[in-house]
């Protein structure tokens, strides 16, 4: 190697000499915890003592929620149609009115939420969940952007396909059973205002978008919409279009602002319009009060208790193990190469 390049290289090398910093030397001060019995047992006990009370509180809150579930899909089919339900439900001329009674088990304080519950209804099916046009719902300017809405995108109006507003399978299959509650011959007022999310009524559903050509095709899905009311006021539709993630779901129908006493009998007069019979779905009417954890749901409480209990059990086990089978941490005699040396 000739001396010139050698010198040049050397000077380059020296300039490359690393700067000292704790990061480059991997010497940043570090906290190095290890799983000592103390740590682990303490954390398990801490979880246990935290979770068991939370579980109890949650369970208690859930227990305090009064819930009435009234399944009506079977009972509301008249005897004569029991063998051929689809003929009954598809025929628009049959009388769909149905009357049933429910009893209030415990005092229910307002607000009492009225839900309808559908079982085995796949609002989360891929074909279904995608079939909507948020643009069209938001603004009248996008009335014709119905690309995502197939197959319920356009109505063939005398050879000229015009957009359906609101388009898509979700809107098309709008739930259309109606409920009237009567307590002691007095109609219980179900308030249907404010059942949708504010963000939906204000932003997602336009106040200048009016239903057009809705349910005009030969195949009629679910409910119809009043064409003179803008979408932002069609709260039933808005609630329905918040698709559910599970095939069993409840959607808010309305609120009752009077209290119901225990053992009150309430007569339900409902219009059984919606077809869940073809796929064996169930329809239920649910009246429920609420608590800080929401509606009646024992799951969280039970899960908290279970996890807390298991943690307590583990902690006890580890304590016992620690007491009866102690193992000194970091005992060098467990190093095999040392063991060899001993032998």
């Amino acid at each position: 190697m000739n001396p010139v390049t050698n010198g040049a290289l050397k000077s380059k090398k020296t300039s490359k000499k690393p700067e000292y910093s704790r990061f480059t030397q991997q010497e940043l001060p570090a906290w190095k915890p290890i799983l000592t019995p103390g740590w682990v047992i303490t954390s398990f006990l801490a979880i246990a003592f935290l979770f068991i009370p939370i579980g109890l509180v949650s369970l208690f809150a859930s227990e305090r929620v009064v819930e009435i579930v009234y399944r009506y899909d079977q009972d509301c089919v008249p005897e004569m149609y029991r063998g051929n339900v689809s003929a009954y439900i598809r025929n628009s001329l049959t009388n769909k009115t149905c009357i049933g009674n429910i009893t209030v088990p415990k005092k229910m304080d307002p607000p009492i939420f009225v839900y309808y519950q559908l079982d085995n209804f796949y609002q989360n099916h891929r074909r279904y969940v995608k079939s909507r046009s948020d643009k069209q719902l938001r603004s009248a300017a996008y009335e014709s952007s119905t690309k995502e809405c197939e197959p319920e995108a356009r109505f063939n109006k005398s050879g000229d396909p015009v957009p359906i507003v609101p388009c898509g399978l979700i809107a098309w299959s709008l739930f259309n059973d109606t409920y009237n509650l009567i307590k002691k011959d007095k109609v219980l007022n179900i308030n249907k205002k404010g059942i949708a999310w504010k963000s939906d009524t204000k932003v997602k559903f336009g106040s200048n978008v009016y239903p057009k050509n809705f349910q005009s095709n030969d195949l009629i899905g679910g409910g119809k919409l009043n064409e003179s009311i803008p979408l932002s006021k069609q709260e039933d539709l808005i609630v329905w279009m918040r698709t559910a993630a599970l095939p069993t779901f409840r959607k808010l129908y309305g609120k009752i602002n009077t209290s119901l006493e225990a053992h009150d009998t309430i007569t339900v007069v409902l219009e059984n319009n919606y077809n869940t019979y073809s796929f064996g779905g169930q329809k239920k009417l649910v009246l429920s009060t609420t608590s800080w954890i929401g509606g009646k749901n024992d799951f969280l409480g039970i899960a908290y208790l279970t996890v807390g209990g298991i943690c307590l059990f583990m902690a006890l086990n580890f304590i016992l193990l620690y007491v009866f089978k102690p193992r000194p941490l970091g005992d060098p005699s467990y190093l095999s190469w040392n063991r060899k040396a001993v032998n």
């Binding site: 190095k32 197959p151 932003v203 509606g295 749901n297 190093l335």
Partner: protein, 870 residues
């Protein structure tokens, strides 16, 4: 004028082509990726079929889905393809990016490492190849060059034997030996002849700087050392003017005219110069070379016994020896020979051989002047480094061009081989196939028997025997290579070095080759990892290598610290990447069971993208700062490297653990989310965000649990990431156009949301923590024990002696600081100086069994006797 430069030179031609290197880890990750891919295909097929079945049996009844009666011809493929799309996240694309990122950081850490800067030359370590740091932690074999790698390649003339008199034996430096100086001053002809040969029998060119200081340009370090030594003994080679050499001896100028150079070749192992003394007009032949090349050429009746003894003695000290000889030629003899030489030099066929033959005619009847011994000192810290690495379970092969005895001595002083009672050297040499075969079989037999014993058996093979063994007995030699932890190969050529690397690689060993010169380039390129020492033989090796370091001892740090950490970090990072992808993918799969197997995605595309790119990539990247054990502990217990070598941290079993964890966590997240967000809360966007939050919370705790040391950066990355997750989602939730408008605000106001999060974390991490704790305490790995000992200030820290041990050549027992209190009986005898050896030594290293006696008698001559009394 012809220059021998560039790629057409012998060195250039034998360099070979470097192939791109793939680490064992990358290969494993590729394998695992392949397995996951197959799993993905299976899932897609199963779900695709299930989806189509569900569609035909169930979905058509669900009128609101409005399946057309007649679909297009590709209808059957739609659902499988949707699932393929859904499951495509199962293989984390981010792993490649993350790995590249952290790998370049590993390399940077090597470049930055202050402790690997060679202070003398201010050369930092340099990682040229940024992709193979993990392999450093998995090295099983190190093949090392000797000269310049283990030694400093700073040749210094130390001792000599002139006409039967030893100089330099007392003070260890012949230049300062009073006797020698006296002999020179009194004009002892032997001494003067000896010095003359030292000064002019070479191809050195003196360069006089304007200030009058003479520097030497020499091809070989040895020649320079000899010339320098002669100069310091008043025989100053001052000028070379065309063919005239000027020597300044004690102030008087002597001129010689060079008539011929009889060049050095590795076959001849000697070189000679024919000069005419300008004052006396005498023609003299000056020769120097290896003992076996010079001593047999002595004139009949010359007593060479003392010289043989001198050579032996020097070789056992690990010195390089040269025999110097001289002969006066008469005019006629030279004239005749010179014609032959010219003719030979101008032949076109077989010139090399012809020239050698002609040279041979002149180089005989020599008067042997003496033996010069040159020391090439071991680099600082080499024996300690080798001892540490050998403890770490790394096998060493030394490949050198030096002669056998020198190589063995260097090997002993480097701790390659344990001293006598434990160590044992088996020689394989021989010139014919038969001999080599016999030797090989004998050595193999011994190896097989001693395999069970904790004995340190090494074999020594020379280049010739190696050639035969590789050619004819490859299988036997391979077995030998597998059996023996140590090997010393002397007199090997660059291509043989490469062949040995190839052989070990073919046995699936991770090899590291380290060298400093151009002759190591091929081996360096061939090996899984090539390390170059940027030393005195230029930068050729350092350039060709993946890593270049200034001194051999930095190899310990390179492997034990950088290699090990890199392996551990990559092991975690890669498996974690699979874990987080699998987690989200399993949730999608579970969701498809409650969404009519239609391939609905629970998560929106923005969330999925952000999950992979931000939420889960950032925290894990700081695992490049994670240290399971401190550097100190690793250096004290190099045995811990075994975990990396054996690939204990990344293999199908550990991967199955992560797979299981992903499955378990997916079940936890999905089940808890779907149950706590049931009925009236079961809104798609909310449920999706709850599940995503659950995953992000869980992964934060998984990273926390798997992190061994938390620096400030880790805290920032892990908990900061969780905060950033909420900030990002609040921002997205503030956009009216986004699908999840207001969702995150709604959720954060619900107690049920936070309850769900805590539940997911506790249910997900509880069992993992319990299992980890149990294994950590009751089924602890060596790493765990060392961690505990290190962090609790246990016996290691109180007993630890981490100061570099003094450079003793004998401290080779497996004594670790931990076992300091344990018996040392039978060890003290080991602490005998190895170098003070005597030829009459009796081997006592064989075990008590009678089986060994057979071998003892047979292999007596070949086992190198080392310890006087042991």
């Amino acid at each position: 004028m012809v220059y021998f430069l560039g790629n057409e030179t012998k060195l250039g031609m034998s360099r070979g082509v470097a192939e791109p290197k793939l680490t064992a880890m990358d290969a494993m990750i590729d394998k695992l990726t392949g397995a996951i891919f197959i799993f993905q295909i299976v899932v897609v097929i199963v779900l695709g079929i299930a989806g189509n079945v569900w569609k035909d049996t169930e979905a058509r009844k669900h009128w609101y889905v409005l399946y057309p009666d007649e679909g297009p011809w590709y209808e059957l493929l739609i659902i499988p393809l949707r699932f393929e799309l859904l499951c495509s996240i199962m293989i984390p694309i981010s792993i490649k990016v993350s790995l590249d990122l952290v790998k370049s950081l590993y390399a940077k850490f090597i470049d930055w490492d202050k402790q690997m800067v060679d202070v003398e030359t201010a050369t930092p370590a340099n990682a040229t190849n940024t992709a193979i740091s993990e392999d450093l932690g998995q090295v099983e074999y190190i093949l090392t060059d000797k000269t310049g790698t283990l030694t400093e390649n700073k040749m210094i003339f130390k001792r000599c034997c002139i006409a039967g008199t030893f100089f330099g034996n007392e003070n260890g430096d012949a230049v300062k030996d009073v006797e020698l100086l006296k002999a020179i001053n009194t004009g002892s002809p032997d001494a003067i002849k000896f010095l003359t040969v030292m000064a002019i029998c070479n191809t050195v060119i003196p360069i006089k700087s304007p200030s009058g200081i003479v520097t030497y340009k020499a091809q070989s370090q040895d020649e320079e050392a000899l010339v320098r030594a002669a100069a310091s003994m008043h025989m100053d080679f001052v000028n070379k003017n065309a063919n005239i050499l000027e020597i300044n001896f004690n102030g008087s100028l002597i001129q010689y005219e060079v008539l011929d150079y009889l060049e050095f070749t590795s076959d001849r192992k000697r070189m000679s110069v024919v000069v005419r003394d300008c004052s006396s007009n005498k023609i003299i032949l000056l020769s120097k070379g290896a003992d076996e090349a010079i001593l047999p050429c002595a004139y009949a009746g010359f007593q060479t016994k003392t010289f043989y003894e001198a050579v032996d003695q020097y070789a056992q000290m690990g010195l390089r020896t040269f025999c110097l000889a001289w002969r006066e030629l008469n005019e006629v003899e030279y004239h005749d020979w010179s014609l032959l030489f010219k003719e030979a030099n101008s032949t076109l066929v077989d010139r090399e051989w012809r020239v050698a033959e002609v040279c041979q005619r002149l180089e005989q009847d020599l008067e042997i002047l003496g033996v010069a011994a040159i020391e090439d000192r071991l680099q600082d810290g080499v024996p300690e480094a080798i001892e540490t690495l050998r403890k770490a379970g790394i096998n060493f092969w030394m490949l050198t061009g030096d002669k056998q005895n020198t190589a063995i001595q260097i090997a002993l002083s480097c701790n390659f081989v344990s001293p006598e009672p434990k160590g044992q050297l088996l020689l394989i040499n021989g010139k014919t196939e038969d001999e080599v075969c016999r030797n090989l079989e004998r050595v193999l037999l011994t190896m097989r028997i001693t395999k069970a014993e904790p004995k340190d058996v090494a074999f020594v093979i020379d280049g010739w025997a190696l050639e035969i063994a590789l050619k004819n007995y490859r299988k036997a030699f391979t077995e030998l290579a597998i059996l023996s932890r140590t090997a010393i190969c002397c007199r090997v050529t660059p291509s043989q070095k490469a062949q040995l690397v190839e052989l070990l690689k073919s046995c699936d060993y991770r090899t590291l080759a380290i060298g400093d010169g151009g002759n190591d380039v091929r081996m360096i390129q061939q090996a899984d990892i090539g390390v170059g020492i940027s030393g005195r033989e230029g930068l050729q090796a350092a350039r060709a290598a993946d890593y270049s370091i200034g001194k051999f001892r930095f190899l310990t740090r390179l492997i034990l610290v950088h290699g090990r950490y890199s392996y551990n970090r990559t092991a975690f990072l890669s498996q974690y990447s699979f874990y987080k992808s699998l987690l989200i993918c399993f949730i999608q799969i579970f969701f498809s069971f409650v969404s009519g197997v239609s391939g609905t995605s629970l998560f929106n595309s923005v969330s999925l993208m952000a999950y992979n790119v931000f939420y889960t990539s950032v925290p894990v990247l700081v695992s490049v700062l994670d240290k399971d054990l401190s550097e100190k502990t690793v250096m004290q217990h190099p045995q811990i490297l075994f975990y990396c070598q054996a690939g204990r941290l990344l293999n199908p079993t550990t991967f199955a653990g992560w797979f299981g964890r992903a499955l378990f966590h997916a079940i936890v997240v999905f089940a808890i989310t779907m149950h706590s967000y049931a009925f009236e809360k079961s809104e798609m966007e909310e449920v999706s965000m709850v599940a995503l939050s659950g995953c992000v919370w869980l992964q934060a705790f998984v990273v926390t649990l798997e992190t061994n040391s938390f620096t400030i950066l880790q805290h920032v990355a892990i908990w900061g990431n969780l905060v950033v997750f909420y900030i990002i989602n609040w921002i997205v939730s503030a956009l009216p156009r986004s699908g999840m408008y207001t969702i995150m605000y709604r959720l954060c106001r619900q107690p049920a949301y936070w309850n769900t999060m805590f539940l997911i974390v506790a249910a997900g991490m509880g069992p993992v923590l319990a299992l980890k704790y149990f294994r950590y305490t009751y089924r602890s790995s060596k790493i765990n024990i060392l961690q505990q000992a290190e962090r609790l200030g246990g016996p290691i820290l109180s007993l630890g002696n981490i100061e570099p041990q003094p450079r003793t050549l004998d401290d080779t027992d497996d004594r670790s600081p931990l076992s300091i209190s344990q018996s040392k009986n039978g060890r003290s005898s080991v602490f005998e100086p190895l170098l003070s050896d005597s030829p009459s030594a009796v081997r006592r290293s064989f075990g008590p069994g009678a089986t060994f006696d057979f071998f003892q008698s047979q292999s007596k001559s070949s086992n190198y006797p080392r310890n006087k009394d042991n």
